[in-house]
Protein backbone atom coordinates (compact mmCIF):
# COMPACT_ATOMS: atom_id res chain seq x y z
CA UNK A 1 0.00 0.00 0.00
CA UNK A 2 2.70 2.48 0.99
CA UNK A 3 4.80 1.68 -2.09
CA UNK A 4 1.76 1.97 -4.33
CA UNK A 5 0.86 5.33 -2.79
CA UNK A 6 4.40 6.62 -3.23
CA UNK A 7 4.43 5.48 -6.89
CA UNK A 8 1.07 7.15 -7.59
CA UNK A 9 2.48 10.33 -6.03
CA UNK A 10 5.63 10.19 -8.14
CA UNK A 11 3.50 9.61 -11.25
CA UNK A 12 1.40 12.72 -10.38
CA UNK A 13 -1.74 10.56 -10.38
CA UNK A 14 -3.72 12.70 -7.93
CA UNK A 15 -6.94 10.67 -8.21
CA UNK A 16 -5.11 7.46 -7.39
CA UNK A 17 -3.28 9.17 -4.50
CA UNK A 18 -6.63 10.22 -3.02
CA UNK A 19 -8.11 6.73 -3.42
CA UNK A 20 -5.12 5.10 -1.76
CA UNK A 21 -5.07 7.65 1.04
CA UNK A 22 -8.72 6.91 1.83
CA UNK A 23 -7.98 3.19 1.79
CA UNK A 24 -4.94 3.61 4.03
CA UNK A 25 -6.98 5.61 6.54
CA UNK A 26 -9.74 2.97 6.52
CA UNK A 27 -7.18 0.26 7.11
CA UNK A 28 -5.63 2.19 10.00
CA UNK A 29 -2.20 2.56 8.45
CA UNK A 30 -0.16 4.86 10.65
CA UNK A 31 -0.35 8.50 9.43
CA UNK A 32 3.32 8.85 10.28
CA UNK A 33 4.18 5.96 7.92
CA UNK A 34 1.97 7.44 5.19
CA UNK A 35 3.66 10.82 5.47
CA UNK A 36 7.23 9.67 5.95
CA UNK A 37 7.35 6.64 3.66
CA UNK A 38 4.90 7.55 0.92
CA UNK A 39 4.27 11.30 0.70
CA UNK A 40 7.64 12.68 1.72
CA UNK A 41 9.57 10.04 -0.27
CA UNK A 42 7.28 10.64 -3.26
CA UNK A 43 7.85 14.39 -3.03
CA UNK A 44 11.62 13.84 -2.78
CA UNK A 45 11.48 11.73 -5.95
CA UNK A 46 9.46 14.43 -7.77
CA UNK A 47 12.07 16.98 -6.66
CA UNK A 48 14.88 14.81 -8.03
CA UNK A 49 13.07 14.41 -11.35
CA UNK A 50 12.64 18.19 -11.49
CA UNK A 51 16.36 18.72 -10.88
CA UNK A 52 17.09 16.20 -13.66
CA UNK A 53 14.74 18.07 -16.07
CA UNK A 54 12.49 15.01 -16.31
CA UNK A 55 9.76 16.98 -14.56
CA UNK A 56 8.85 20.64 -14.94
CA UNK A 57 6.91 23.25 -12.97
CA UNK A 58 3.40 21.70 -13.37
CA UNK A 59 4.67 18.51 -11.71
CA UNK A 60 6.20 20.52 -8.84
CA UNK A 61 2.94 22.44 -8.37
CA UNK A 62 0.95 19.20 -8.37
CA UNK A 63 3.37 17.66 -5.88
CA UNK A 64 2.74 20.62 -3.55
CA UNK A 65 -1.03 20.34 -3.95
CA UNK A 66 -1.05 16.57 -3.38
CA UNK A 67 1.03 17.02 -0.22
CA UNK A 68 -1.38 19.64 1.06
CA UNK A 69 -4.39 17.42 0.34
CA UNK A 70 -2.74 14.44 2.04
CA UNK A 71 -2.03 16.47 5.17
CA UNK A 72 -5.65 17.67 5.27
CA UNK A 73 -6.96 14.13 4.96
CA UNK A 74 -4.60 12.81 7.64
CA UNK A 75 -4.92 15.73 10.06
CA UNK A 76 -7.85 14.32 12.12
CA UNK A 77 -6.01 11.02 12.62
CA UNK A 78 -2.78 12.77 13.49
CA UNK A 79 -4.56 14.95 16.04
CA UNK A 80 -6.37 11.94 17.50
CA UNK A 81 -3.05 10.18 17.93
CA UNK A 82 -1.58 13.24 19.61
CA UNK A 83 1.08 13.88 16.98
CA UNK A 84 3.30 16.70 18.15
CA UNK A 85 3.74 19.83 16.10
CA UNK A 86 7.23 20.71 14.84
CA UNK A 87 6.39 24.36 15.39
CA UNK A 88 3.98 27.12 14.46
CA UNK A 89 4.58 29.32 11.41
CA UNK A 90 2.89 32.42 10.02
CA UNK A 91 3.63 32.64 6.30
CA UNK A 92 2.87 35.27 3.65
CA UNK A 93 4.06 36.95 0.46
CA UNK A 94 4.88 40.58 1.25
CA UNK A 95 2.89 43.67 0.23
CA UNK A 96 2.94 44.51 -3.47
CA UNK A 97 3.84 40.98 -4.47
CA UNK A 98 1.24 38.64 -5.92
CA UNK A 99 3.41 35.56 -6.43
CA UNK A 100 2.48 32.43 -4.56
CA UNK A 101 3.79 29.33 -6.32
CA UNK A 102 7.00 29.16 -4.31
CA UNK A 103 5.21 30.03 -1.07
CA UNK A 104 2.64 27.28 -1.62
CA UNK A 105 5.28 24.65 -2.33
CA UNK A 106 7.27 25.64 0.75
CA UNK A 107 4.09 25.56 2.87
CA UNK A 108 3.31 22.05 1.64
CA UNK A 109 6.82 20.86 2.47
CA UNK A 110 6.71 22.47 5.92
CA UNK A 111 3.31 20.89 6.59
CA UNK A 112 4.65 17.46 5.72
CA UNK A 113 7.52 18.15 8.12
CA UNK A 114 4.95 18.64 10.88
CA UNK A 115 4.74 22.42 11.10
CA UNK A 116 1.40 24.12 11.66
CA UNK A 117 1.08 26.91 9.11
CA UNK A 118 -1.12 29.99 9.03
CA UNK A 119 -1.05 31.01 5.35
CA UNK A 120 -1.74 34.75 5.05
CA UNK A 121 -1.74 34.64 1.25
CA UNK A 122 -0.17 37.27 -1.03
CA UNK A 123 0.18 41.07 -0.89
CA UNK A 124 0.32 40.99 2.92
CA UNK A 125 0.99 44.41 4.53
CA UNK A 126 3.39 44.70 7.46
CA UNK A 127 0.56 45.56 9.88
CA UNK A 128 -1.09 42.22 9.09
CA UNK A 129 2.13 40.31 9.79
CA UNK A 130 2.42 42.12 13.11
CA UNK A 131 -1.20 41.51 14.11
CA UNK A 132 -0.99 37.83 13.15
CA UNK A 133 2.19 37.39 15.18
CA UNK A 134 0.47 39.09 18.13
CA UNK A 135 -2.58 36.86 17.83
CA UNK A 136 -1.13 33.49 16.79
CA UNK A 137 2.19 33.64 18.67
CA UNK A 138 4.10 31.61 16.06
CA UNK A 139 7.62 30.31 16.47
CA UNK A 140 8.60 31.54 13.00
CA UNK A 141 7.41 34.20 10.55
CA UNK A 142 8.16 33.23 6.93
CA UNK A 143 8.06 35.88 4.23
CA UNK A 144 8.38 35.50 0.49
CA UNK A 145 9.30 38.17 -2.06
CA UNK A 146 9.64 37.44 -5.76
CA UNK A 147 10.18 40.96 -7.06
CA UNK A 148 13.16 43.22 -6.57
CA UNK A 149 10.88 46.14 -5.74
CA UNK A 150 9.05 44.23 -2.99
CA UNK A 151 12.23 43.06 -1.26
CA UNK A 152 12.39 46.19 0.97
CA UNK A 153 9.03 45.11 2.45
CA UNK A 154 10.83 42.26 4.20
CA UNK A 155 12.84 44.73 6.24
CA UNK A 156 9.77 46.87 6.88
CA UNK A 157 8.05 43.88 8.51
CA UNK A 158 11.14 43.07 10.58
CA UNK A 159 11.35 46.71 11.71
CA UNK A 160 7.64 46.73 12.58
CA UNK A 161 8.04 43.58 14.66
CA UNK A 162 10.90 45.32 16.43
CA UNK A 163 8.87 48.51 17.05
CA UNK A 164 6.04 46.47 18.48
CA UNK A 165 8.37 44.63 20.84
CA UNK A 166 7.82 41.27 19.20
CA UNK A 167 11.07 40.68 17.37
CA UNK A 168 12.73 38.73 20.18
CA UNK A 169 9.72 36.44 20.51
CA UNK A 170 9.70 35.19 16.92
CA UNK A 171 12.26 33.96 14.40
CA UNK A 172 12.15 35.42 10.87
CA UNK A 173 12.87 33.36 7.76
CA UNK A 174 12.83 34.87 4.25
CA UNK A 175 12.93 33.45 0.73
CA UNK A 176 12.21 34.19 -2.91
CA UNK A 177 13.99 34.14 -6.23
CA UNK A 178 15.91 37.45 -6.09
CA UNK A 179 17.02 37.00 -2.45
CA UNK A 180 20.42 35.86 -1.23
CA UNK A 181 21.90 34.92 2.14
CA UNK A 182 23.74 38.25 2.12
CA UNK A 183 20.51 40.15 1.62
CA UNK A 184 18.79 38.18 4.38
CA UNK A 185 21.69 38.98 6.73
CA UNK A 186 21.62 42.65 5.78
CA UNK A 187 17.98 43.08 6.77
CA UNK A 188 18.34 41.20 10.04
CA UNK A 189 16.47 38.00 9.16
CA UNK A 190 17.32 34.94 11.23
CA UNK A 191 17.36 32.59 8.29
CA UNK A 192 17.12 32.33 4.49
CA UNK A 193 15.77 29.37 2.54
CA UNK A 194 17.10 29.03 -1.01
CA UNK A 195 14.42 26.52 -1.98
CA UNK A 196 11.63 24.48 -0.41
CA UNK A 197 13.97 21.75 0.81
CA UNK A 198 16.36 24.18 2.43
CA UNK A 199 13.44 26.05 3.98
CA UNK A 200 12.40 22.90 5.86
CA UNK A 201 15.94 22.23 7.09
CA UNK A 202 16.37 25.86 8.17
CA UNK A 203 12.99 25.95 9.90
CA UNK A 204 13.96 22.90 11.93
CA UNK A 205 17.27 24.52 12.80
CA UNK A 206 15.48 27.67 13.94
CA UNK A 207 13.32 25.60 16.28
CA UNK A 208 16.46 24.38 18.02
CA UNK A 209 17.84 27.88 18.64
Amino acid sequence: MIAELRDAFVNIDSNRVNELLKKAIEENVSPRDIIEKAIRKGADEVGKKYEACEYFLPELVMSGEMMKEAIEMLRPRMQAEGATSSGKIVFGTVKGDLHDIGKNIVISMLSVAGFEIADLGVDVPSERFVSEVKEKKPDIVCMSSLLTHTMPELKIVIDELMKNGMRSRVKVMVGGRPLTQEYADSIGADSYGRDAYEAVTKAKELMKR
Binding site: I12, F56, P58, M62, G96, L98, H149
Partner: protein
Protein backbone atom coordinates in the same frame (compact mmCIF):
# COMPACT_ATOMS: atom_id res chain seq x y z
CA UNK B 1 22.91 51.02 -42.11
CA UNK B 2 20.71 52.17 -39.25
CA UNK B 3 20.42 49.84 -36.24
CA UNK B 4 16.85 49.04 -37.28
CA UNK B 5 17.95 48.17 -40.83
CA UNK B 6 20.68 45.92 -39.42
CA UNK B 7 18.12 44.22 -37.23
CA UNK B 8 15.84 43.61 -40.20
CA UNK B 9 18.66 42.14 -42.32
CA UNK B 10 19.67 39.78 -39.49
CA UNK B 11 16.00 38.88 -39.03
CA UNK B 12 15.91 37.79 -42.68
CA UNK B 13 18.72 35.32 -41.81
CA UNK B 14 21.40 37.34 -43.59
CA UNK B 15 24.55 39.23 -42.63
CA UNK B 16 24.21 43.01 -42.15
CA UNK B 17 27.33 45.22 -42.08
CA UNK B 18 27.83 44.30 -38.44
CA UNK B 19 26.11 42.34 -35.69
CA UNK B 20 23.09 44.44 -34.64
CA UNK B 21 22.34 45.27 -31.03
CA UNK B 22 18.75 45.41 -29.83
CA UNK B 23 17.19 45.94 -26.44
CA UNK B 24 13.71 45.12 -25.29
CA UNK B 25 11.72 48.18 -24.46
CA UNK B 26 9.68 48.25 -21.29
CA UNK B 27 7.99 50.59 -18.86
CA UNK B 28 11.32 50.64 -16.95
CA UNK B 29 12.28 53.23 -19.56
CA UNK B 30 10.04 55.71 -17.75
CA UNK B 31 12.29 55.54 -14.72
CA UNK B 32 15.37 56.46 -16.78
CA UNK B 33 14.06 59.99 -17.01
CA UNK B 34 12.45 60.12 -13.59
CA UNK B 35 8.87 59.54 -14.69
CA UNK B 36 6.32 57.68 -12.62
CA UNK B 37 5.32 54.54 -14.57
CA UNK B 38 1.60 55.35 -14.45
CA UNK B 39 2.22 58.87 -15.78
CA UNK B 40 4.36 57.39 -18.53
CA UNK B 41 1.62 54.98 -19.59
CA UNK B 42 -1.27 57.44 -19.69
CA UNK B 43 0.46 60.68 -20.67
CA UNK B 44 1.08 59.98 -24.35
CA UNK B 45 3.14 63.11 -24.88
CA UNK B 46 5.52 62.25 -22.04
CA UNK B 47 5.72 58.67 -23.26
CA UNK B 48 6.65 59.69 -26.79
CA UNK B 49 9.22 62.10 -25.45
CA UNK B 50 10.72 59.44 -23.09
CA UNK B 51 10.96 56.88 -25.87
CA UNK B 52 12.57 59.33 -28.30
CA UNK B 53 15.05 60.39 -25.63
CA UNK B 54 16.06 56.77 -25.23
CA UNK B 55 16.61 56.41 -28.99
CA UNK B 56 18.66 59.59 -29.02
CA UNK B 57 20.77 58.50 -26.04
CA UNK B 58 21.54 55.14 -27.70
CA UNK B 59 21.75 55.75 -31.46
CA UNK B 60 23.81 52.58 -31.95
CA UNK B 61 21.08 50.08 -31.13
CA UNK B 62 17.55 49.11 -32.10
CA UNK B 63 14.67 48.78 -29.66
CA UNK B 64 12.13 45.99 -29.77
CA UNK B 65 9.46 47.10 -30.18
CA UNK B 66 10.41 50.58 -31.51
CA UNK B 67 8.25 53.50 -30.40
CA UNK B 68 5.11 51.78 -29.12
CA UNK B 69 2.15 52.19 -26.73
CA UNK B 70 4.05 50.31 -23.98
CA UNK B 71 1.26 49.50 -21.52
CA UNK B 72 3.29 46.70 -19.93
CA UNK B 73 2.02 43.17 -19.56
CA UNK B 74 -1.52 43.94 -18.40
CA UNK B 75 -3.68 45.33 -21.26
CA UNK B 76 -5.16 42.06 -22.52
CA UNK B 77 -5.89 40.77 -18.99
CA UNK B 78 -7.49 44.11 -18.08
CA UNK B 79 -9.96 43.57 -20.93
CA UNK B 80 -11.24 40.52 -19.00
CA UNK B 81 -11.73 42.65 -15.89
CA UNK B 82 -8.41 41.90 -14.17
CA UNK B 83 -7.57 44.46 -11.49
CA UNK B 84 -4.40 46.37 -12.43
CA UNK B 85 -1.88 47.57 -9.84
CA UNK B 86 0.50 50.40 -10.71
CA UNK B 87 3.86 51.05 -9.11
CA UNK B 88 6.08 54.08 -9.20
CA UNK B 89 9.13 52.40 -10.71
CA UNK B 90 8.01 48.97 -11.88
CA UNK B 91 5.71 47.72 -14.63
CA UNK B 92 2.04 47.32 -13.67
CA UNK B 93 0.75 43.92 -12.58
CA UNK B 94 -2.69 42.36 -12.42
CA UNK B 95 -4.53 39.72 -10.44
CA UNK B 96 -6.27 36.65 -11.90
CA UNK B 97 -9.95 36.88 -12.82
CA UNK B 98 -10.83 33.21 -12.41
CA UNK B 99 -10.78 31.42 -9.09
CA UNK B 100 -11.73 27.94 -10.31
CA UNK B 101 -11.50 26.14 -13.63
CA UNK B 102 -15.28 26.01 -14.18
CA UNK B 103 -15.43 29.83 -14.29
CA UNK B 104 -13.62 29.64 -17.61
CA UNK B 105 -17.05 28.86 -19.09
CA UNK B 106 -18.08 32.44 -18.23
CA UNK B 107 -15.23 34.13 -20.11
CA UNK B 108 -15.76 35.75 -23.47
CA UNK B 109 -13.25 37.10 -25.98
CA UNK B 110 -13.09 40.84 -25.21
CA UNK B 111 -13.72 43.65 -27.67
CA UNK B 112 -10.45 45.61 -28.06
CA UNK B 113 -12.40 48.79 -28.87
CA UNK B 114 -14.44 48.62 -25.67
CA UNK B 115 -12.87 46.54 -22.89
CA UNK B 116 -10.30 47.27 -20.18
CA UNK B 117 -7.22 49.25 -21.12
CA UNK B 118 -7.34 48.27 -24.78
CA UNK B 119 -9.24 51.36 -26.04
CA UNK B 120 -6.76 53.64 -24.24
CA UNK B 121 -3.91 51.65 -25.70
CA UNK B 122 -5.32 52.04 -29.22
CA UNK B 123 -5.70 55.76 -28.57
CA UNK B 124 -2.07 55.93 -27.40
CA UNK B 125 -0.95 54.01 -30.51
CA UNK B 126 -2.74 56.49 -32.75
CA UNK B 127 -1.15 59.40 -30.87
CA UNK B 128 2.35 57.97 -31.40
CA UNK B 129 1.73 57.48 -35.12
CA UNK B 130 0.33 60.98 -35.57
CA UNK B 131 2.97 62.77 -33.51
CA UNK B 132 6.23 60.88 -34.01
CA UNK B 133 9.14 62.55 -35.79
CA UNK B 134 9.45 61.26 -39.36
CA UNK B 135 12.73 59.38 -38.82
CA UNK B 136 11.14 57.11 -36.21
CA UNK B 137 9.07 54.02 -36.78
CA UNK B 138 6.16 53.06 -34.52
CA UNK B 139 5.50 49.40 -33.69
CA UNK B 140 2.46 47.81 -32.11
CA UNK B 141 2.30 46.96 -28.42
CA UNK B 142 4.02 43.68 -27.47
CA UNK B 143 1.40 40.96 -27.10
CA UNK B 144 1.16 38.12 -24.61
CA UNK B 145 1.46 34.56 -25.86
CA UNK B 146 -1.67 32.44 -25.30
CA UNK B 147 -0.18 30.55 -22.34
CA UNK B 148 1.09 33.74 -20.77
CA UNK B 149 -2.31 35.43 -21.01
CA UNK B 150 -3.99 32.26 -19.71
CA UNK B 151 -1.75 32.33 -16.61
CA UNK B 152 -2.50 36.00 -16.04
CA UNK B 153 -6.23 35.21 -16.10
CA UNK B 154 -6.10 32.04 -14.01
CA UNK B 155 -2.86 32.41 -12.01
CA UNK B 156 0.34 30.52 -12.82
CA UNK B 157 0.05 27.80 -10.18
CA UNK B 158 -3.65 27.08 -10.78
CA UNK B 159 -3.22 26.93 -14.57
CA UNK B 160 -0.29 24.53 -14.31
CA UNK B 161 -2.32 22.38 -11.93
CA UNK B 162 -5.35 22.53 -14.27
CA UNK B 163 -3.17 20.99 -16.99
CA UNK B 164 -3.37 17.80 -14.90
CA UNK B 165 -6.76 18.16 -13.28
CA UNK B 166 -8.89 20.00 -15.88
CA UNK B 167 -7.16 19.86 -19.28
CA UNK B 168 -10.44 20.47 -21.11
CA UNK B 169 -10.82 23.84 -19.36
CA UNK B 170 -7.23 24.77 -20.13
CA UNK B 171 -7.97 24.26 -23.82
CA UNK B 172 -11.10 26.42 -23.53
CA UNK B 173 -9.09 29.18 -21.90
CA UNK B 174 -6.29 28.92 -24.45
CA UNK B 175 -8.76 29.17 -27.32
CA UNK B 176 -10.14 32.37 -25.78
CA UNK B 177 -6.63 33.74 -25.14
CA UNK B 178 -5.54 32.94 -28.71
CA UNK B 179 -8.52 34.69 -30.27
CA UNK B 180 -8.02 37.65 -27.92
CA UNK B 181 -4.46 38.15 -29.14
CA UNK B 182 -5.45 37.81 -32.81
CA UNK B 183 -8.30 40.32 -32.39
CA UNK B 184 -5.99 42.69 -30.48
CA UNK B 185 -3.35 42.72 -33.24
CA UNK B 186 -6.06 43.20 -35.88
CA UNK B 187 -7.52 46.09 -33.89
CA UNK B 188 -4.10 47.78 -33.76
CA UNK B 189 -3.79 47.29 -37.52
CA UNK B 190 -7.27 48.74 -38.10
CA UNK B 191 -6.36 51.89 -36.21
CA UNK B 192 -3.17 52.76 -37.99
CA UNK B 193 -2.69 50.44 -40.94
CA UNK B 194 -0.87 47.15 -41.04
CA UNK B 195 2.25 47.03 -38.88
CA UNK B 196 5.48 45.37 -39.94
CA UNK B 197 6.10 43.32 -36.81
CA UNK B 198 4.40 41.29 -34.16
CA UNK B 199 6.27 40.82 -30.89
CA UNK B 200 5.02 38.03 -28.63
CA UNK B 201 6.21 37.43 -25.06
CA UNK B 202 5.53 34.06 -23.45
CA UNK B 203 7.79 32.45 -20.85
CA UNK B 204 5.42 29.65 -19.90
CA UNK B 205 6.54 27.20 -22.64
CA UNK B 206 9.91 27.14 -20.86
CA UNK B 207 8.25 25.98 -17.64
CA UNK B 208 6.36 22.97 -19.00
CA UNK B 209 7.38 19.57 -20.36
CA UNK B 210 7.72 18.83 -24.09
CA UNK B 211 4.50 16.78 -23.84
CA UNK B 212 2.55 19.66 -22.29
CA UNK B 213 4.08 22.15 -24.73
CA UNK B 214 2.85 19.96 -27.57
CA UNK B 215 -0.65 19.89 -26.10
CA UNK B 216 -1.07 23.35 -24.56
CA UNK B 217 1.57 25.54 -26.18
CA UNK B 218 2.41 24.73 -29.76
CA UNK B 219 -1.03 24.77 -31.45
CA UNK B 220 -2.07 28.07 -29.91
CA UNK B 221 1.18 29.96 -30.52
CA UNK B 222 1.21 28.72 -34.10
CA UNK B 223 -2.37 29.86 -34.63
CA UNK B 224 -1.47 33.42 -33.60
CA UNK B 225 1.65 33.53 -35.79
CA UNK B 226 -0.20 31.93 -38.73
CA UNK B 227 -2.83 34.68 -38.57
CA UNK B 228 -0.19 37.27 -39.48
CA UNK B 229 1.83 35.78 -42.30
CA UNK B 230 3.11 39.04 -43.72
CA UNK B 231 4.54 40.38 -40.45
CA UNK B 232 7.99 39.83 -39.04
CA UNK B 233 7.36 37.68 -35.98
CA UNK B 234 9.58 38.18 -32.93
CA UNK B 235 9.24 35.89 -29.92
CA UNK B 236 10.61 36.49 -26.41
CA UNK B 237 11.01 33.76 -23.80
CA UNK B 238 13.29 34.38 -20.84
CA UNK B 239 13.07 30.84 -19.43
CA UNK B 240 15.25 27.92 -20.42
CA UNK B 241 13.77 26.40 -23.59
CA UNK B 242 16.46 23.89 -24.55
CA UNK B 243 13.97 21.03 -24.11
CA UNK B 244 11.58 22.32 -26.81
CA UNK B 245 13.81 24.39 -29.12
CA UNK B 246 12.93 22.84 -32.49
CA UNK B 247 9.20 22.73 -31.80
CA UNK B 248 9.25 26.32 -30.58
CA UNK B 249 10.87 27.34 -33.86
CA UNK B 250 8.18 25.37 -35.73
CA UNK B 251 5.53 27.76 -34.39
CA UNK B 252 6.59 30.26 -37.04
CA UNK B 253 8.53 33.18 -35.56
CA UNK B 254 11.59 34.59 -37.36
CA UNK B 255 13.45 36.18 -34.43
CA UNK B 256 13.97 34.43 -31.10
CA UNK B 257 14.94 36.50 -28.04
CA UNK B 258 16.04 33.60 -25.86
CA UNK B 259 17.03 33.08 -22.24
CA UNK B 260 20.50 33.37 -20.77
CA UNK B 261 19.81 29.87 -19.43
CA UNK B 262 19.95 28.50 -22.99
CA UNK B 263 23.36 27.35 -24.20
CA UNK B 264 24.01 29.75 -27.07
CA UNK B 265 26.25 27.49 -29.20
CA UNK B 266 23.79 24.62 -29.03
CA UNK B 267 20.83 26.93 -29.66
CA UNK B 268 22.63 28.28 -32.76
CA UNK B 269 23.47 24.78 -33.98
CA UNK B 270 19.94 23.45 -33.50
CA UNK B 271 17.77 26.29 -34.82
CA UNK B 272 20.17 29.03 -35.95
CA UNK B 273 19.67 28.32 -39.65
CA UNK B 274 15.90 28.64 -39.39
CA UNK B 275 15.50 31.64 -37.08
CA UNK B 276 17.49 34.71 -36.19
CA UNK B 277 18.77 34.47 -32.61
CA UNK B 278 18.61 37.49 -30.33
CA UNK B 279 20.42 37.20 -27.03
CA UNK B 280 21.54 36.08 -24.56
CA UNK B 281 23.76 37.98 -22.11
CA UNK B 282 22.88 37.16 -18.51
CA UNK B 283 20.59 39.97 -17.31
CA UNK B 284 21.23 40.37 -13.57
CA UNK B 285 24.78 39.36 -12.61
CA UNK B 286 26.31 40.60 -15.85
CA UNK B 287 24.10 43.18 -17.57
CA UNK B 288 22.65 44.86 -14.49
CA UNK B 289 25.60 44.56 -12.11
CA UNK B 290 28.64 43.74 -14.26
CA UNK B 291 31.42 46.11 -15.24
CA UNK B 292 31.78 47.37 -18.84
CA UNK B 293 34.86 45.13 -19.15
CA UNK B 294 32.88 42.04 -18.11
CA UNK B 295 30.14 42.91 -20.59
CA UNK B 296 32.70 43.48 -23.33
CA UNK B 297 34.25 40.05 -22.69
CA UNK B 298 30.91 38.23 -22.72
CA UNK B 299 29.72 40.05 -25.86
CA UNK B 300 32.94 39.23 -27.73
CA UNK B 301 32.46 35.56 -26.85
CA UNK B 302 28.79 35.57 -27.88
CA UNK B 303 29.56 37.26 -31.22
CA UNK B 304 32.26 34.67 -31.89
CA UNK B 305 29.82 31.83 -31.21
CA UNK B 306 26.58 33.11 -32.75
CA UNK B 307 27.63 35.88 -35.11
CA UNK B 308 29.19 33.96 -38.05
CA UNK B 309 26.86 33.69 -41.08
CA UNK B 310 24.51 36.36 -39.78
CA UNK B 311 21.02 35.77 -38.37
CA UNK B 312 22.20 37.02 -35.00
CA UNK B 313 21.31 40.05 -32.87
CA UNK B 314 23.38 40.77 -29.78
CA UNK B 315 21.06 41.36 -26.81
CA UNK B 316 20.19 40.43 -23.27
CA UNK B 317 18.69 37.02 -22.47
CA UNK B 318 15.85 38.10 -20.20
CA UNK B 319 15.07 41.12 -18.08
CA UNK B 320 14.44 44.52 -19.52
CA UNK B 321 16.70 46.89 -17.69
CA UNK B 322 20.37 47.73 -17.52
CA UNK B 323 22.32 50.84 -16.63
CA UNK B 324 23.47 53.14 -19.43
CA UNK B 325 27.07 51.98 -19.09
CA UNK B 326 26.04 48.37 -19.74
CA UNK B 327 24.09 49.35 -22.85
CA UNK B 328 27.04 51.43 -24.07
CA UNK B 329 29.41 48.51 -23.47
CA UNK B 330 27.25 46.13 -25.48
CA UNK B 331 26.85 48.57 -28.38
CA UNK B 332 30.59 49.22 -28.38
CA UNK B 333 31.41 45.48 -28.32
CA UNK B 334 29.19 44.86 -31.36
CA UNK B 335 31.00 47.50 -33.38
CA UNK B 336 34.44 46.27 -32.22
CA UNK B 337 33.98 42.53 -32.70
CA UNK B 338 30.90 42.21 -34.87
CA UNK B 339 31.97 43.57 -38.28
CA UNK B 340 31.15 41.09 -41.05
CA UNK B 341 32.73 38.84 -42.11
CA UNK B 342 33.42 37.58 -38.61
CA UNK B 343 36.55 35.48 -38.29
CA UNK B 344 35.95 32.00 -36.89
CA UNK B 345 38.88 30.59 -34.91
Amino acid sequence: MTPRERFMVAASLKEPDQVPVAFLRSTYDATRIGLNVKDYIFDYRKKLSAQIKLHERFPGCAFVPGLNPDFGIVPEASAFGAEVFYYEKEPPMCTPVISNAEEIDNLKVPDPHRDGLLPKLLESYRYLIENKPSQHEVDPQAIRGPLDLATELRGVGPLLSDMYRHPEYVHKLLNIATQTEIDFVKAMDEVVGESRIIFMCDDIPGLISPKFFEEFGFPYMKKVFDAFNKKLKIYHNCKNSMHILERLADTGFQVFNFSFENRIAETKRRIGKRVCLMGNVEPIGIFLKGSPKEIDDICREQIKVAGPNGAYVLSVGGGCYGPDQSMDAMISAASKYGRYPIAVD
